[in-house]
Amino acid sequence: MRISRTDTSGKYIFKQFIQWVLFGLLMVICFVLETAGSFVKPLLLIPLALCISAHTGEIQAMAVGTTCGLLLDVACNKLIGYNAIGLVVVCVIVSLLHGYYLRNRFMNMLLLTAVYTAIQGYLDFFLYYAIWGLEDANLIYTNVYLPSEIMTLVSMIPIYLLVRWIAEICGSRRNYELEKTIIMNS
């Protein structure tokens, strides 16, 4: 049976361009929301980076991890590169996991986001507050980090749906490669 490619190459490139413009726009929106007001907020860039990585190749995942990580460093006033390094590693791992072992399911993403958010939050708290022996440092974890982690997990739901919708509309690279392989082998 002959399987024909659904998109022509030019059309595919255009769709990919639109997809990355939309992803870039989402990054800007998440960054702006993260820096508005002085109240405790979710770290929206984390689920965004992970959700995008699940739909892309390793190199793109690395680029997304770097961008979102650097934006997170600026928003949280951390040393530049502190969050970026961690997010690059996790984004590449997420991309590889979804390429080789996992299906792109909501529960998988929720689990990955929960694990990374918990590790990132605790590491952040430990390195910036607990290690310095601050009095009542645990209050920072319970009043700031924990609510933020929970909010990050909840915010992952709309972000996941939005990213999946964009990837489906624009046709993610993984689908294209799969399609190309099927065509070549048929």
Binding site: V28, F31, V32, L33, E34, T35, A36, G37, S38, V40, K41, L43, G57, E58, I59, M62, T66, G69, L70, L71, V74, A75, C76, N77, L79, I80, G81, Y82, A84, I85, V88, V89, V92, L96, Y100, Y129, L134, E135, D136, A137, L139, I140, N143, V144, Y145, S148
Partner: protein, 293 residues
């Protein structure tokens, strides 16, 4: 997976990670100065942050107005739209009025403290995400003559110091932070102490006055609204600037000294504009008493 481990992609990823590690090491060695890339990023993000802060501020204000006017709406349904429209206009008017008042108040600082060299009012571009001590960014930097550790004030009182500096932006660590210590004294009792933030007090928007004499007169006469002023002993802060008001006095955990909770005079958690004091009389000069010690 094996294919990936042998591929050039892995090498590219490792190179990027090494680059990021290099940037991180550079950022550590740069002290309080931001790297140029961050300055550019801050400049690009600044208009978006200002816009989002303005929107969130307006929404908050509109919600307050709505809550206050709810009873009036119930009484007369027909006037509802008119009232809402008037509120919208009032909101804009209040915004302009507040801005004007803030600008006037900054002129007042210069009139009261004639030895101060201050910047033009700096806009707060945004608070640092999830910072328990309410650090924030401003849209002024080295180009406005600001240096690291310059005091940041409003007309109400001291807010904090510059701890990270770029060409057109800076980060302010507030007096709620344990990283900042300010030598202060009480205006009425003349009790001296050190003001430094603590986690517990910061959660309530307050800061802590430490190392007061155990038998401090503040304790004997717990009148509210006793003003705490900077003593200017270490040359980092100008002398006699308002910091906050004494809230509660108690014995420290060690039992050797007394401490007090201080309510900052400026609402550190909700700032829109501040000024930076770039120079003042006695800047960088430790007091005679301190030098002798």
């Amino acid at each position: 997976m094996e294919h990936f481990l042998k591929s050039k992609k892995l090498k590219a990823i490792l190179i990027i990670m090494a680059l990021l590690a290099g940037i991180l090491a550079y950022a550590v060695s740069a002290g309080g100065y931001t790297i140029p890339a961050v300055d550019i990023l801050n400049a690009l993000a600044s208009p978006f942050q200002k816009a989002s802060n303005a929107i969130s501020g307006n929404v908050e204000y509109a919600l307050t107005l709505y809550q206050n006017a709810e009873n009036g709406y119930e009484e007369n349904e027909e006037l509802r739209k008119e009232v809402a429209e008037l509120h919208r206009q009032l909101s804009k008017y209040e915004e302009v009025k507040q801005e004007l008042t803030e600008l006037k108040s900054f002129v007042g600082i210069k009139e009261t403290y004639d030895d101060f060299v201050i910047t033009s009012p700096c806009e707060v571009t945004g608070y640092v995400t999830n910072d328990p001590f309410y650090a924030f960014n401003i849209d002024c930097g080295k180009n406005e003559g600001i240096s690291l550790y310059d005091p940041v004030v409003t007309e109400e009182g001291l807010v904090g110091v510059i701890t990270k500096l770029g060409n057109n932006s800076a980060t302010v660590t507030t007096i709620l932070s344990p990283d900042l210590s300010v030598a202060v004294y009480c205006s009425t009792t003349k009790d001296h102490g050190v003001l430094t933030g603590s986690v517990g007090y910061a959660m309530q928007g307050m800061t802590k006055l430490q190392y007061l004499d155990k038998e401090t007169t503040l304790r004997k006469n717990q009148k509210k609204d006793r003003v705490v002023l900077t003593s200017g002993e270490n040359g980092l802060f100008p002398k006699g600037y308002v910091v906050g008001y004494v809230n509660e006095v108690k014995t420290d955990d060690s039992g050797l000294t007394a401490c007090a909770s201080i309510k900052p005079a400026a609402d550190v958690r909700n700032l829109h504009m501040v000024v930076v004091v770039t120079d003042f009389e006695g800047k960088g000069v430790e007091s005679h008493e301190n030098q002798q010690n």
